[in-house]
Symmetry: C2
Subunit: 225 residues, 2 copies
């Protein structure tokens, strides 16, 4: 890799101030994008070399990912990319159902800034869906949901929901790959947004529940078949 001396911000966005943060972001991306396959062993030396750092920051990043459940670890055997069983997938979605409902309720009533952010994010989701840009849609979708969850003002809840999302990110892109699914997402977002505008928290919660159910059932069918 060519390292510019005077311009540190050469590659995508600014590179984090420490190697472990850089590695953390990079490995998380590789896992959630499916580039590193579930169940596969992580060879520290090889991966560290590929990222041009030593094993020390890599190991610290892996410890963080272990805490998030993205990798599993056994002493003297190293790290593996975590595998999600069907039971795990359903558990994650069940927990999201409970926790995101709480977040939505706690976020109400929403102020104008939140609505603005929700609408901006939704516009991006729509654009990406139209173009079939799966990765971009996943990003915009996350921004949409988390704009709402952040408004709850519950940092720990936000963090937990975030880790639940991370652990299923690889599957989410799979879901967005279907054009029908993308249409569903848009319709559900719009309906939830309308409920939120009407100040109807329970209505929005119900739409988000449908939103998740549709995703998990589709994925379950796809993965089992």
């Amino acid at each position: 890799m060519v390292e510019s001396v005077s311009e540190p911000a050469s590659e995508s966005a600014t590179r984090p101030p420490t190697a472990q943060q850089f590695v953390l972001a990079e490995v998380r991306r590789a896992i959630t994008s499916g580039e590193l396959k579930p169940g596969s062993a992580i060879r520290q030396e090889a991966l560290a070399e590929r990222l041009e750092v030593s094993r020390v920051p890599l190991r610290e990043a892996l410890k963080t990912l272990e805490g998030e459940g993205l990798v599993s670890y056994r002493a003297h055997r190293g790290y593996r990319v975590a595998e999600l069983s069907m039971a795990d997938l359903r558990e994650v979605y069940r927990l999201r159902e409970i926790l995101e409902a709480e977040a939505v309720r706690a976020a109400m009533p929403l102020d104008d800034a939140v609505f603005a952010e929700l609408e901006a994010a939704q516009a991006l989701v729509e654009q990406a869906a139209e173009r079939g840009a799966v990765e971009e849609m996943a990003r915009a979708n996350r921004r949409f949901h988390f704009a709402l969850y952040e408004a709850a003002g519950m940092p720990r809840l936000l963090r937990i929901i975030g880790t639940l999302w991370d652990s299923t990110d690889a599957y989410r892109s799979l879901y967005y790959a279907g054009a029908d699914n993308r249409r569903h997402v848009l319709a559900e977002h719009r309906a939830a947004l309308a409920a939120l505008r009407a100040g109807d928290a329970e209505g929005a919660v119900r739409w988000f529940d449908r939103h998740r159910s549709a995703a998990v059932e589709t994925l379950a069918a796809q993965l089992e078949g």
Copy 2:
């Protein structure tokens, strides 16, 4: 430290197979027991020396604790023992309310082995309470609650609840220090257990809610005053 060659199990229980696991357990204990005070900086060199390991395994243990929210971290400034604001404390208890209710419902109906474990744990809680053994009571109490939550068969949920407990462990001991509080705990446990025996999940959930409310309100009064 004197290391026996033939008998590795010299100090309390068997020492973990890796230094980082040993350090993790030790630092977690020090934080949850209040030995390391909230807000204080963690000097890696000093702490590593005290535990007779190098900074590397200590740093990996701290990364794990960061994931659990027991310490906070800022690049180039190091780790600090996390401070719980009143808002944090209330958020933790609110999340526990939601998640533990889910665990109780999912655990029903309980089989005999779970009842046996619950009763064994409760007996220990009663004994410890009578003797005013705060630390021991905290341990037995945790065993009681988690026997129930484990029965839900939801590993991620169990883990999340565990981290929420960890983050408030230091306060829990404070609560148990009051004789009145200990009496409350016993009564609430007994009532919840009776509801569980009757197959009444919602009744048990209500008792656990009271259980937590009593604790958080008492603590709030104590900490604000």
